[in-house]
Symmetry: C2
C-alpha cells in the first residue's frame, strides 16, 4: 500500500451508531407496509449516524422491552416507531418505561398539548393515555396531531403514521450528534457480478477503510451491477473509484457514473 | 361469557411461527428500500404461519450468526434474504454454516445448475462461491438466475433481489407446515380512535382469542380508523364484528365494511 493510499484515522472519526425498532403487529401480518425504515435510514446516513440494525417487533410488551434494552445498550441511538396512540394495542410507552425500570407518569405539558387539540371535554381517559411518558422522559413535539412522542435516555419514541413520524424526526434531528458523514460514490457497468467479483474483492482489500457493495440489476434489457463505495474521505472514494473504472474497462465494459437509467 | 362465545381450542391449533432476516448494508444505509418483508409477511399469513419478528442485519458475519442462532431457536421457521451472490460482500452462506457449526462445502448439484447457466468456462471462482452451502443443506431452486438458495434445518436462505426471492419462496412454500390460517375481518368508521378506544379495549377483553388492532387514517378529508379483527375462527370474528358495528353506531358513526376508499 503506497503512503498516499493509507487511510488517515483522526480522533474526530468517532463512529455514531443507531438501531430502529418498528413496533406493530400490522407490519408483521403484512396488512401495513412499513414506510419508516427507508426514510430513517436515509436521514440518519445524511446526519453521519450509522444505522446498524433494524427490527420489527410485535405488540407484545416483553418483546418490546427486550428489543429496547438490547439495542439501547449496543447503539448510541435507538428510534422506535408505532404504538403510542390511544387504543389498547398501543403499548410502546408502557414497555419503554418498563425497559428503563421507571413508572409511566402523566406529563402535564403533554396533557396541555392534548387539551388544546380537542374540544372542551374531549380529552377522555383513552386520549389521556397519550400524555403518559416514562418518568424522566422529555417530549418530542407532534405538529400534525398534537399527541407527543418522547425521548428517554438514548431512545426516541415516535409515532408510526409516516407523516407524523417524519414531523417528529424533523424536530429531534438537530439534537443528534453524528459522526463524520458517510460519503458515497456509485459506479455501474453492464457486466456480470461474477465477472468482476475477483477484482472487486481485491479492491476492497486495498481500501479497507471503505465499504464496497455490489448490487446486480437488470435494465435496458441487460444484466449489470452498481458498485457503491462508502467512506468518510472523499479522496479515498475518488481513488478507489478511479481503480474501479479501470477494472470495468479491462473487463470490456464501459463505466457508468451513478446508476444507469431503468 | 356465554357458552356459545367460548373459544374452542383444539389440538390442531398449533401455532406455527417465523422470523424474517433481511441481510444487507444497502437496506441500512437507505440506498435500497426493502421489498421483501411485506411480501413474506402476507404470504406467511396466508399459509397460517405467524411472522413474529423481522430484523435487518448488516453484512457482518458475527451479526448474521447471532441473529440466525437467536431466531432459529425461538421460531419454527426463519427466512433470510440477501447476501448469496458472487461478490466479497455476499457472506450469508458462510455465516449460516458458522451458525450451525458445519463447514461450507461445494454442492455438486448446485455446481451443475450454475454450469448450465454460463457459457463454457464461465463458471469462474467467484461464481463457484454460489455453489457452496453449509454441509447438510438442501437446495432451493432459482428459476430466474440459476444460483440456488438453500434450506438448513429450519432456516431458508434466499436471494435479496425481489423477483428471485419470490420465485424461491414459491418453490418452498408448499413444504411449509402452517397452523390454522389466521382469518381477518376489517370494519372502519369515520370517528377518532380516542372516541372508541374504551369500547374497543372492552371488546378485546371479551374476545381474548382474537387480536384486535386499531389503525387511524385520514381519508376523504376526514379522520377515521380501521379496526382489524384477526383469529382462526370465522364465527368468533363475525360475532366480534357485529358488536363492533353496534359500538360504532352508538358513537354516532356509520360502520364501513373493510377500508374506506382513499
Amino acid at each position: 500500500m503506497a503512503p498516499e493510499q493509507m487511510p488517515r484515522k483522526t480522533q474526530d472519526e468517532k463512529i455514531v451508531t443507531a438501531a430502529v425498532l418498528i413496533i406493530g403487529n400490522e407490519i408483521l401480518s403484512g396488512r401495513t407496509k412499513d414506510m419508516n425504515l427507508g426514510y430513517l435510514a436515509e436521514e440518519l446516513t445524511k446526519l453521519g449516524v450509522r444505522l446498524r440494525e433494524a427490527r420489527v417487533v410485535a405488540d407484545v410488551e416483553g418483546e418490546i422491552v427486550a428489543a429496547v434494552n438490547d439495542c439501547r445498550a449496543r447503539y448510541d441511538y435507538v428510534f422506535t416507531t408505532g404504538g403510542i396512540g390511544p387504543t389498547h394495542d398501543d403499548i410502546t410507552s408502557a414497555a419503554v418505561a418498563r425497559a428503563f425500570g421507571v413508572p409511566l407518569i402523566l406529563d402535564e405539558r403533554a396533557r396541555a398539548m392534548l387539551e388544546r387539540n380537542y374540544p372542551p371535554g374531549g380529552l377522555n381517559e383513552a386520549r389521556l393515555r397519550m400524555a403518559h411518558v416514562p418518568q424522566g422522559a422529555s417530549l418530542i413535539e407532534n405538529p400534525v396531531s398534537a399527541a407527543p412522542g418522547f425521548r428517554m435516555g438514548n431512545v426516541f419514541v415516535m409515532a408510526g403514521v409516516p407523516a407524523i413520524m417524519r414531523a417528529m424526526f424533523d424536530g429531534v434531528k438537530g439534537k443528534l450528534v453524528g459522526g463524520r458523514p458517510v460519503l458515497s460514490l456509485t459506479v455501474s457497468g453492464f457486466l456480470g457480478e461474477g465477472i468482476i467479483a475477483a477484482g472487486l474483492g481485491a479492491l476492497q482489500q486495498r481500501y479497507l477503510d471503505l465499504d464496497i457493495g455490489s448490487y446486480p440489476f437488470f435494465r435496458q434489457g441487460r444484466f449489470g451491477a452498481s458498485f457503491v463505495l462508502r467512506g468518510t474521505e472523499q479522496a479515498r472514494l475518488d481513488a478507489a473509484a478511479q481503480e474501479l473504472r479501470s477494472l470495468i474497462r479491462e473487463l470490456g465494459a464501459e463505466p457508468i457514473e451513478g446508476e444507469p437509467a431503468a
